[in-house]
C-alpha cells in the first residue's frame, strides 16, 4: 500500500514559492474571506460548527475545542478573553513557529473568528520569549490587519471589536501551561494555578472567563468555517478529525515537519517513508511520539487491545497510527506532535539524563513533588552517567517518579514523571548495566563525559 501523501491545509502556503508573510499576499490567497463570512454569522453558530467538527486541541492534551468553548462562564457578565498559546517549547516541537513566521495572518484570521465566536473582548498572543522575530512579524501583521479593519475596532464594519496584543513570554517552559501562562500574562511568575477553582474558562486572566488555545488549533477554526464542520470531520478518522502537523527529529535521515490527515499513516511510515529512514547501518531503538513528556516506546514492543470503535489491534511500534487515539492505545500520547527518533547508537540512560535535566531546570518550583522530585531524578541520572550508577538506582528512579505523578498542581508533574517511568520500565536492563560499567578513570572527567544537550 502506498504511503499517504501530505495533506497540507494549515501549511498550505507556508512553504510555497513566492508566498510572503504580508497582508497583500495573504489577501491574494483568499485571506480573511472566512472572517468576512464569520462576522455575518451568529457567534453561537460558529461555536456549534467548531463543536461539530470534532477538532481537538493541538497544544498537547487533545481536548475537544468546541467543548472547551462551551465551558465558558457567560453568566458572570465579566469580559471574555482569548489567548493564543504560542509558547511552543515542548522539546521536539517546532510546528507553531512555522505558522507564525511564514503565515501569521492565518493565525490572526483564525483568532479573530474564534474571538468573534466566543465574543471575546480582547485577545492575546503569548509568544515564546525566544521567538524575537516571530513577535515582530506578528506585531507587523496585526498592524496591517488593523489598518484594514480586520481586527481592532469595529471589525469589517460589523460593530464587533477585539484587539490582539502580542505578549512576549518569560523564557520558561512552564509559561506554556495555560494557567502559568495566564499568571505570566498578568505580569507575575508563571506559577500554575490550582484547579479547582482557577479553571481558565471561569477564572482565567484577571479572574475573567478565558479560552486558551494552541496556534494550530486556532488556525483550524478558519478551515472549519471554510470547509464546513461536516467536511472537516471527514478528514482523518472519527474522533481524530482534521490534519496534524508532526515534527520529526532525532536520528532519521530527513527530519522535518509534515502535515497529514489524522490517522493517514503509521509511525513506521513516518520514520521510514516520509523521513527517509534511519542513518545507514542503524536500527530503531526507541521513539518518543509526542514531545519529550510523552512516554517512550521501545522498538520491539507490541501492543494489543480493543479500540473504542470495537476493533481489535495488535501493533508493533511502527504500526501505531499517527492520530490522537493511536498513541494513547499504545500507552503514550501524541502530545504536541513532536516525534523524537532514537537509533541503536543512543545510550538510553544518557537520553533520560538529558530529559531529566530539562525538567529539573524548568520546574517552576511551586509544588513540592515536582520541585524536589524532578531535581532528584536529574541528580540520579547525572550521577549514573558520571560513573556512579548503582543497581538500585533504576527502582529508586521509578519510585521518585511515582511520588510525583498525580500529586502536583499542574500537568508538568506528569510530564516530568512519565519519561523516567517509561524509560526505566522499558530499558531496565540498560539502567542496571550502567551500574556495572567501570567508573571513568579520572573522576573529573565524569561530568564531561556526559553528553547533555
Amino acid at each position: 500500500m502506498a504511503v499517504a501523501k501530505e495533506k497540507r491545509i494549515i501549511l498550505k502556503y507556508a512553504d510555497a514559492k513566492g508566498y510572503s508573510n504580508d497582508l497583500p499576499c495573504y489577501l491574494e490567497h483568499g485571506g480573511y474571506d472566512m472572517l468576512k463570512k464569520a462576522v455575518k454569522s451568529k457567534p453561537e453558530d460558529i461555536c456549534e460548527e467548531v463543536l461539530k467538527s470534532g477538532v481537538r486541541g493541538r497544544g498537547g492534551a487533545g481536548f475537544p475545542t468546541g467543548m472547551k468553548w462551551k465551558f465558558l462562564d457567560r453568566k458572570s457578565g465579566k469580559p471574555i478573553y482569548l489567548i493564543c498559546n504560542a509558547d511552543e517549547s515542548e522539546p521536539g516541537t517546532f510546528k507553531d513557529r512555522q505558522i507564525i513566521y511564514k503565515d501569521p495572518h492565518q493565525l490572526i484570521e483564525g483568532m479573530m473568528i474564534s474571538a468573534y465566536a466566543i465574543q471575546a473582548k480582547q485577545a492575546f498572543i503569548y509568544i515564546r520569549a525566544e521567538f524575537f522575530e516571530g513577535a515582530r512579524i506578528l506585531d507587523r501583521a496585526i498592524a496591517e490587519a488593523k489598518a484594514k479593519k480586520l481586527c481592532g475596532d469595529n471589525v469589517l464594519g460589523s460593530g464587533y471589536s477585539c484587539d490582539i496584543v502580542v505578549h512576549r513570554g518569560a523564557g520558561a517552559y512552564i509559561c506554556g501551561e495555560e494557567t502559568g501562562l495566564i499568571e505570566s500574562l498578568e505580569g507575575k511568575r508563571p506559577n500554575p494555578r490550582i484547579k479547582p477553582p482557577y479553571f481558565p474558562a471561569v477564572l482565567g486572566v484577571y479572574q475573567c472567563p478565558t479560552i486558551v488555545n494552541n496556534v494550530e488549533t486556532l488556525c483550524n477554526v478558519k478551515h472549519i468555517l471554510e470547509m464546513g464542520a461536516d467536511a472537516f470531520a471527514q478528514l482523518g478518522i472519527p474522533n481524530n478529525t482534521g490534519t496534524r502537523i508532526w515534527c520529526v527529529s532525532g536520528q532519521v535521515q530527513k527530519p522535518g515537519y509534515f502535515e497529514f490527515e489524522c490517522g493517514a499513516l503509521t509511525l513506521g511510515e513516518m520514520i521510514y517513508d516520509v523521513c527517509g529512514g534511519l542513518n545507514p547501518g542503524r536500527s530503531l531503538k526507541a521513539v518518543i511520539p509526542g514531545g519529550s513528556s510523552a512516554k517512550v516506546l521501545r522498538a520491539d514492543e507490541r501492543f494489543t487491545g480493543t479500540l473504542k470503535d470495537g476493533t481489535d489491534f495488535d501493533w508493533g511500534v511502527t504500526d501505531i497510527p499517527l492520530d490522537f487515539d493511536g498513541p494513547i492505545a499504545a500507552g503514550t500520547m501524541s502530545g504536541s506532535g513532536g516525534i523524537i527518533v532514537m537509533d541503536d547508537s543512543v545510550d538510553i540512560v544518557e537520553a533520560l539524563a538529558n530529559v531529566n535535566a530539562f525538567y529539573a531546570h524548568e520546574s517552576c518550583g511551586q509544588c513540592t513533588p515536582c520541585r524536589e522530585g524532578s531535581l532528584w531524578m536529574r541528580k540520579i541520572t547525572t550521577r549514573m552517567c558520571s560513573g556512579g550508577a548503582r543497581e538500585e538506582d533504576s527502582d529508586l528512579l521509578v519510585s521518585v517518579a511515582n511520588q510525583i505523578e498525580g500529586r502536583t498542581i499542574c500537568a508538568f508533574g506528569e510530564a516530568a514523571a512519565w519519561p523516567t517511568q517509561s524509560f526505566v520500565a522499558k530499558f531496565k536492563d540498560e539502567f542496571i548495566a550502567k551500574a556495572n560499567q567501570p567508573a571513568p578513570d579520572d573522576d573529573a572527567e565524569g561530568p564531561a563525559r556526559l553528553r547533555l544537550i
Partner: protein, 575 residues
C-alpha cells in the same frame, strides 16, 4: 450559611465514619473538628489557599449520579456508588460537600504523605541542633509522624544563603525554607506590604525581598510565627533560647485598644518573646512587631521598684499609711488611667466614691493602622467607662484638672500611671497639692510625688481589659514582679479599707469580681471572673455605644458609631 445566619451542617463520611461538619469549610478544618489531623504546611486559616506543599493530600470520593438524569447510581446492593477520584486531592483546596467520602489514612493518602515528606527533606539541611525552630517545627513533627524514618537520598544537597537580612527584625535561612509561600501571602494579604517573592526556579527557588525593598512593616514578625520551619527567624530571639524551656502565659497586648491576644513566653522569671494567640474575633493570628517589644519595659532602667514616702524608701505598710493620711482630707482628685485593669479602675472608682474625689482621665491617641494598632493607644479605656470610674469619653489631656487646680483648693492628687506634665499640667499648678503616684516607671510626676507606690506591669499581674470591640479579656501573670511589690488592686483595696478604719480583707480576683458584678448600671453586671472565657466575653455596651470613640475600621472591628475624632474635641471639652 443559611438565611437565618446559622451554619448549615452537612454529613460527610470521614475515614468510614459518618460525621456532621459545617458547610463551606475545607477538608483540613473538617477533619480537625473530628479529631483527625491532615498535616499541612502551606495552608493557613487566615491566608488564601496556595495548594503548593501537597502535604495535605487525601483520598476523596463523591456519591455517583447519572450525568443525564441526575439520579443516584446504585450498586448491586442498592447502595449509591462512590466515584473515588483516582488521584489524591488537596485537603486545603477541597471543600466539603454532602455525602463526600474522605480518607485521611488510606494507603493512597499515606503513600502521598510519605512521598511529600521525603521530598521536603531531600534538600533540607541537618540544622536541627542549632535551629531556633527545633521543638516547634512542623517539618520535625511531621517527619516523625508521617516520614519514612530513613533517607534514600545519596546526592549532594542544594546550597543556599544561610543568613539573609530581610529587614530590621527578620533573618532568613534559605536552605530551611520549604517554599510554602505563607510569608509572601501574609505580606500581600494581611500586611498589605508586598515585598517578598521567590526568585530562581525549581528546587533552586529562593525567597527574597524585591530589590530596594525590605521587610520592615510593623507586622513583619508574623512571618516568623507562620513560617512552618526555621527559615524565618526573629533577629531578636535568634539563638537566644530553646523553645521547649519556655513557659507560655496567655496575655493581652497593651499597645492599643485592639487587645490582641498573646502568649508571653518566659523562662525562670525572664521573658524571651511575645507571640500572638489566635482569636478569630480579635486579632486572628497576628500581632504587631511593636507590641512584641513591650516586655522590655519590665527590666527598664526607669522601673520603679521601691515604695517611697517624702523622698525616702519605705515599706509598703508605711507608704500605704502615708497615702491614707493624705487621702483623709476632703480636697482630693484622682487621675486614673486607661492602662489600668478593670479591677484597678473599679477600685479607683470605689475610692473616689468614698473620698468624694473627682476622677480625671486622659486618653492617649495616635493613628489607626487599619489592623491591630488602633487610634486609642491604651488597652482599657472602655474599662474606665464600664466600671464608672469616669462618665465621659476622655480627651487627650487633663485640662479640666488644670481648671480645678487653678481654683487652688486641691490638697491631694492620686495619680495612676500618668505623667501630669505631659498632659497639660504645670509644676506651678500643683505646688500646693500633695501627690501620691501609683505606677510602674519613673516619670516627672513620680519624681515630685510625696508617696510612690510602684506597681506591676501587665506581665507581672493578672486581670482583665475591655478592648475596642467591648470584649472583656483576661490576662495572666507571666513572671514574678520585683521583690516586695503586690498588685495594684491589693494596694488600692488596702487604702480604701484603711480609709474607713477597717482592716482590708484578703482579696482575690474572683472575690473582687463578686463586687464588680454587682455594679447595677454597668455592662459588667452579673459577670463572674471564673466565667470569662479564655478568648474573652463580648459585652453589651448599652449606652456606652454612643460615645465618640476614635478607632476607625480595622481587622475584625467596624466602629458602629464612631463620631468625630477626639483630637478635635479639646475645645468642646472646655467647660
Amino acid at each position: 450559611m443559611s438565611g437565618n445566619g446559622k451554619v448549615d451542617m452537612i454529613p460527610i463520611i470521614l475515614n468510614g465514619e459518618e460525621v456532621e461538619v459545617p458547610s463551606g469549610i475545607n477538608l483540613i478544618e473538617a477533619a480537625q473538628i473530628h479529631g483527625r489531623e491532615i498535616p499541612h504546611y502551606c495552608y493557613h486559616p487566615k491566608l488564601t489557599v496556595a495548594g503548593n506543599c501537597r502535604m495535605c493530600l487525601v483520598e476523596m470520593g463523591m456519591p455517583m449520579r447519572d450525568r443525564g438524569t441526575g439520579e443516584p447510581v446504585l450498586d448491586a446492593d442498592g447502595n449509591q456508588k462512590i466515584g473515588w477520584i483516582p488521584k489524591p486531592v488537596i485537603g486545603c483546596g477541597t471543600n466539603v460537600a454532602p455525602g463526600m467520602r474522605v480518607n485521611t489514612d488510606s494507603p493512597l493518602a499515606k503513600d502521598s504523605r510519605e512521598g511529600i515528606m521525603e521530598f521536603l527533606l531531600v534538600n533540607h539541611p541537618l540544622d536541627c541542633p542549632i535551629c531556633d525552630q527545633a521543638g516547634e517545627c512542623r517539618l520535625q513533627e511531621f517527619a516523625m509522624d508521617y516520614g519514612r524514618g530513613y533517607s534514600r537520598f545519596v546526592e549532594r544537597k542544594n546550597v543556599k544563603p544561610k543568613r539573609t537580612r530581610l529587614g530590621p527584625r527578620v533573618t532568613l535561612d534559605d536552605e530551611r525554607c520549604i517554599l510554602c509561600s505563607r510569608c509572601i501571602r501574609f505580606c500581600q494579604e494581611v500586611a498589605k506590604d508586598d515585598v517578598l517573592g521567590f526568585v530562581d526556579r525549581g528546587s533552586y527557588s529562593t525567597l527574597t525581598c524585591f530589590p530596594g525593598k525590605e521587610l520592615s512593616n510593623n507586622y513583619s514578625l508574623n512571618t516568623v510565627d507562620i513560617c512552618p520551619v526555621g527559615a524565618l527567624t526573629s533577629s531578636d530571639f535568634r539563638f537566644k533560647m530553646r523553645v521547649w524551656f519556655l513557659k507560655e502565659s496567655p496575655s493581652i497586648c497593651t499597645e492599643s485598644s485592639s487587645g490582641a491576644n498573646t502568649l508571653v513566653e518566659s523562662r525562670e522569671g525572664q521573658i524571651y518573646r511575645i507571640i500572638p494567640r489566635r482569636n478569630d474575633v480579635v486579632n486572628d493570628t497576628w500581632m504587631t512587631d511593636s507590641g512584641r517589644e513591650l516586655f522590655k519595659q519590665v527590666q527598664s532602667e526607669s522601673r520603679l521598684t521601691a515604695h517611697r514616702s517624702d523622698g525616702a524608701e519605705v515599706t509598703l505598710d508605711a507608704a500605704v499609711a502615708r497615702s491614707v493620711e493624705l487621702l483623709s482630707n476632703d480636697k482630693i482628685a484622682i487621675v486614673g488611667s486607661c492602662n489600668s485593669t478593670v479591677e484597678e479602675q473599679y477600685l479607683l472608682r470605689k475610692l473616689a466614691d468614698q473620698t468624694k474625689a473627682e476622677t480625671h482621665l486622659s486618653g492617649h491617641f495616635g493613628d489607626d493602622d487599619g489592623l491591630l494598632l488602633s487610634a486609642d493607644r491604651t488597652p482599657n479605656l472602655r474599662g474606665a467607662l464600664a466600671t464608672g470610674m469616669v462618665k465621659k469619653y476622655p480627651s487627650d489631656n487633663l485640662k479640666p484638672l488644670a481648671l480645678q487646680l487653678g481654683k487652688g483648693d486641691l490638697k491631694t492628687l492620686l495619680v495612676v500611671n500618668e505623667d501630669l506634665f505631659a498632659l497639660g499640667i504645670t509644676k506651678e499648678q500643683i505646688k500646693k497639692a500633695k501627690i501620691i503616684y501609683v505606677g510602674t516607671h519613673e516619670n516627672e510626676t513620680s519624681k515630685m510625688a510625696d508617696v510612690v507606690l510602684p506597681s506591676l506591669t501587665v506581665f507581672e499581674k493578672s486581670g482583665t481589659f475591655i478592648n475596642r470591640n467591648f470584649r472583656l479579656q483576661k490576662f495572666f501573670q507571666a513572671v514574678p514582679g520585683p521583690a516586695g511589690l503586690v498588685p495594684d488592686f491589693l494596694v488600692l483595696n488596702r487604702i480604701a479599707s484603711e480609709l474607713l478604719g477597717e482592716v482590708a480583707e484578703s482579696l482575690g480576683l474572683e472575690s473582687l469580681w463578686k463586687e464588680i458584678g454587682k455594679l447595677r448600671t454597668s455592662c459588667l453586671k452579673g459577670i463572674a471572673y471564673r466565667e470569662i472565657p479564655s478568648d474573652g466575653l463580648a459585652l453589651d455596651p448599652g449606652k456606652l455605644a454612643d460615645l465618640p470613640y476614635v478607632e476607625g475600621p480595622a481587622l475584625n472591628f467596624s466602629p458602629s458609631k464612631v463620631k468625630k475624632a477626639v483630637k478635635a474635641k479639646p475645645k468642646a471639652a472646655k467647660v
